[in-house]
């Protein structure tokens, strides 16, 4: 396959109702199949940027998804291409049962019933929640909710996954499961996170966003070695990045 740009953002500005700019000229392009971490302090604009990927927020500038510019008449198709996973799974799981939530995307894509059911079963199997379809969302643990939220976008078979803080609020075991799961996903991934271990483990490329601007964009290893850059933007090198030396030789 010819390498194509999955996400192409050019000079994107976005202001909140109060006039404060959340994005101040973001330019970013991500190739199909790339896995990119989006890091930066709270309020840097990470979530705002993700919400632009399927036209929920519309700022000044251009956003192209798989070569198509949004917004346009193509919005439903783009929304099926970009699976947006929200930070709080209680926002994403709005239906009474897990089945209804995972079926929501396919149902709105107008798929026939047997295909909807097939996709729900497939998506739940992908995240290891087989047999959960009749469960009520409010009875799930936080880790299960996160996985159900991911299943609810996987069922649309998106080409791009936009994840917002996938590991926040998870205990170590649930977090480990999620990391192993994300590692084997074939999709293009743009993942906003504070979890620098996660970044170091599965994202070869890292973008630092601060005060609405891309301040660094490059190979994760290189950026993580640049301590002064990390410190300037309130980030930490994952620990243990290098074993500490003990005592004198």
């Amino acid at each position: 396959m010819v390498a194509m740009k999955a996400i192409e953002i050019t000079d994107l500005y976005y202001a909140y109702h109060n006039g404060r700019y959340a994005l101040r000229g973001v330019t970013l392009s991500i190739m199909a199949g790339e896995k990119v971490a989006l890091v930066g302090p709270n309020g840097a604009g990470k979530s705002t940027l993700l919400l632009h990927l399927n036209g929920i927020l519309r700022g000044r500038g251009t956003v192209r998804i798989l070569g198509e510019e949004i917004p346009g008449h193509n919005l439903p198709r783009i929304r099926a291409q970009v699976g947006l996973v929200f930070q709080d799974p209680d926002d994403q799981l709005f239906s009474p049962s897990v089945f209804d939530d995972v079926a929501f995307g396919p149902l709105y894509a107008g798929l026939p019933e047997h295909e909807v059911r097939r996709r729900v079963a497939w998506a739940l199997a992908q995240v290891g929640l087989e047999g959960y379809s009749e469960r009520l969302s409010h009875h799930l643990s936080q880790g299960e909710k996160k996985r159900a939220a991911i299943a609810s976008v996987l069922s649309m078979e998106p080409a791009i996954l936009a994840l917002d803080e996938p590991t926040s609020g998870l205990d170590p075991r649930a977090r480990r499961r999620l990391i192993e799961f994300l590692r084997q996903l074939p999709q293009t991934i743009l993942c906003a996170t504070h979890d620098m271990h996660l970044v170091a483990e599965i994202f070869p490329r890292m973008v630092i966003l601060d005060e609405g601007l891309v301040v660094a964009d490059g190979p994760t290893q290189e950026l993580l070695d640049n301590t002064s850059l990390l410190e300037a933007h309130g980030l930490e090198r994952p620990w243990p990045y290098k074993p500490q030396e003990h005592g004198t030789p």
Binding site: V82, F94, E113, V116
Partner: protein, 263 residues
């Protein structure tokens, strides 16, 4: 994140009884007809009340959810029926007792007792319905019965988020309790101050809910929501269950006839 949740609102009790297995549509229709029947039963038709009680109690026993459980949940709602208490004064009849300047009439008393009985019967049916039918199935049954989808969807959201908002309220209350130390034996502040704190908590809960509603809407849009409400088709009701529904409806009609012809 795990921990205590607000489970008091969740009325479903998982069992493997015949009542649980029954199609949700059949249960919903029968419960609604039962409530309608209880409401329509004339004042003082005691045998009809006894028959209705026998019906709902049989269903409760069959369902294995526990008579105590149903009665406890019914008791929570019963006080609302007391709103009808004014009928003891307003119904014309022979005065039996005078409270201050108002006469309590015999017909009025009879009517109040009937209303309380009807409420008690109806609430038991509703409690039983929710105890042996998972809420999503109930929602599907409603949309299958052509209840406007907007209403069904609103009910669905209410059911989903009442727990989320309830948990949020629980955390707020816990946060307040954790800081409500008692330094010199007279903590607690004035009533006005406490009312203000409670008001602030309600306000903060309201704001959080509005913000959440915006995020939920964004999540719906992200998955293709376009303003139309869509659901999967419903499988057909099995013939045996259809027969049960007709038999149950017929029984209720018979009870009504009995109540009206005899009284």
């Amino acid at each position: 994140m795990a921990g205590e949740h607000l489970h008091a609102l969740d009325g479903y009790r998982a069992r493997t009884s015949p009542v649980h297995h029954l199609d949700a549509r059949v249960k919903l229709v029968l419960a609604l007809l039962f409530i309608l029947s209880a409401v329509l039963t004339p004042t003082g038709a005691w045998p009809a009340y006894i028959l209705l009680t026998a019906l709902v109690w049989s269903a409760i026993i069959l369902s294995q959810v526990g008579m105590g459980f149903v009665q406890r949940r019914t008791a929570v709602v019963m006080p609302f029926a007391l709103a009808a208490v004014t009928v003891i004064f307003t119904t014309p009849g022979r005065p039996v007792l005078t409270v201050w300047k108002f006469d309590i009439t015999d017909h009025g008393l009879l009517r109040l007792i009937s209303i309380l009985l009807k409420s008690w019967l109806s609430i038991q049916a509703a409690v039983l319905l929710t105890a042996c039918t998972p809420f999503p199935a109930l929602l599907q049954a409603m949309s299958a019965l052509r209840i406007p989808r907007v209403l069904v969807v609103i009910l669905g959201f209410t059911y989903r988020y009442i727990f989320v908002i309830g948990d949020e309220a629980l955390r707020l209350i816990r946060g307040r309790a954790a800081r409500s130390g008692d330094l010199n034996g007279k903590g607690g502040g004035t009533l006005l101050w406490r009312a203000r704190v409670t008001g602030n908590m309600a306000g903060s809960l309201f704001l959080r809910s509005i913000e959440r509603s915006e995020r939920v809407y964004a999540a719906m849009l992200a998955r293709g929501y376009d303003g139309q409400i869509r659901t999967l088709n419903h499988p057909t009701v099995r013939p045996s269950e259809l027969v049960l529904m007709l038999a149950g409806s017929l029984l209720l009609v018979l009870i009504q006839l009995l109540a009206r012809l005899r009284w």
